[in-house]
């Protein structure tokens, strides 16, 4: 599943650890989601979207293939 986490983080100058802290998961978890090695649970996907003040479909694209 493709996502825009890296871009959204870069816009806010957040590190993976910063985002992890905001949504309550480890830096490793953010990295795994960002690089599409792990598809997040619905709950984590909503938390990530919420942290970026974006809609979930603006962060994740279930039809997109990972880069």
């Amino acid at each position: 599943m493709k996502n825009r986490i890296r871009v959204l983080r870069a816009e806010r100058r957040w590190s993976q650890a910063d985002l992890g802290e905001r949504v309550g998961v480890s830096r490793q978890a953010i990295n795994a989601v960002e690089t599409s090695k792990h598809d997040p649970s619905l709950s984590l996907a909503f938390k990530i979207a919420e942290a970026f003040e974006a809609r979930i479909e603006d962060v994740f694209d279930p039809h997109g293939e990972p880069d």
Binding site: G24, S26, Q28, A29, N31, A32, V33, K37, H38, L44
Partner: protein, 130 residues
Amino acid sequence: MAMTPAAKTYMRRMLVIFTLYTVLLFGAVWTDNTFELAQPVRIILSLLPVLPVIACIGAIIAFVRAMDEVQARIVLESALIGAIIVAIASFTYGMMRGVTDWPAIYEVWYFPAFIGVTGVAKFFVKRRYQ
């Protein structure tokens, strides 16, 4: 890297459990070697060190539940790989023993083998998610 509160609790509980395990194991061996005991008492004595090992299941499950979903996935995948490898290895060894004179493996080694193989598997599984 700083330990999470859940990791600290886990380490504390495991320290208590393995201290208790060591005391009970050596205590049971010493008692059995020192006194003439009836067979039922010897059986109870030999099962005493198993109690802390059972307690460690609770500590492990509590720790895994406190992890985030990626960390938990890494641990569970590693444990699955560890269980499959030890099961296949012991099964294969058992089959080979039927046609060779290889020595029997003492069952008490299966659990440490599972923990060891899981640890090695975790190293590789973790890399997959990095």
